[in-house]
């Protein structure tokens, strides 16, 4: 199953609800494209909701990092929320949990933007 991705607004925060797999050729490019589209529209506060992500590999981790740096370079902020245990484990192993601002739920993620 490839990844599906839906964008919605909560105030001035854009939430991307992701589900499925973020892997090489299966959603990674879609995520990167969607984040760039949001940046082009002027979005600065973006949250990736990973509750439905059942699987991620090193390419998928790379896509999360690419999205994070693209948003940061555009002067915005990207946060993650609702990590599954599989995704959290890989972020811990790769020390990426120290890079991302990760929140447990939507209210906390939205409130975390200054």
């Amino acid at each position: 199953m490839s990844m599906t991705l839906t964008a919605r607004q909560v105030g001035d925060v854009t939430i991307l609800d992701l589900s499925g797999k973020i892997t090489l050729g299966e959603g990674g490019v879609t995520l990167r494209d969607e984040v760039r589209k949001l940046l082009a529209k002027g979005a600065k506060k973006i949250v990736l909701n990973l509750v439905g992500v059942s699987y991620i590999d090193s390419s998928g981790l790379g896509e999360l990092v690419s999205s994070y740096t693209a948003v940061k370079n555009a002067g915005g902020e990207l946060k993650l929320m609702n990590l599954t245990s599989k995704v959290r484990d890989l972020l811990v192993i790769t020390k990426l949990l120290t890079v991302f601002d990760v929140k447990d739920d939507e209210a906390a993620a939205v409130a975390a933007f200054a």
């Binding site: 892997t23 090489l24 050729g25 699987y55 590999d57 090193s58 390419s59 981790l61 790379g62 896509e63 990092v65 690419s66 994070y68 740096t69 245990s85 599989k86 484990d89 890989l90 192993i93 790769t94 020390k95 990426l96 120290t98 890079v99």
Partner: protein, 134 residues
Amino acid sequence: MTLDSELSSVETVETRVEQLAHQAGFDEDTSSQIAMVTREAVINAILHGNKRDPAKKVRIGFALSDDALSITIADEGLGLDPDSVPDPCAPENILRSSGRGIFLMRAIMDEVHFHQLSPGTEIELIKHRIHKES
């Protein structure tokens, strides 16, 4: 198992390894992780080893013993020096978008060995089985 150097081959190996890991008694999360790092090795073999050359194959071997599950992935490329792969957790590399595959193999498996072939590289991934005391 011999595969063409196409990414469509990857899923077949991943499914087979996950089944084997279950048979070996690993729990669901561990089986999934073993399958995932095998996938990483096969993708590396296709993209970086064989460079998608249709004339080159990827050979996969599986062995299940009383002690361990062992998976070998061999390509026909120019060879790989695993020591030359940068540490993806180092501050200067942490924001790179690639280079985490071998690191994940080493983090998740108990042993990872690189054997130079002529031509090519074979990666051996080993996970020790945990025996419950009776």
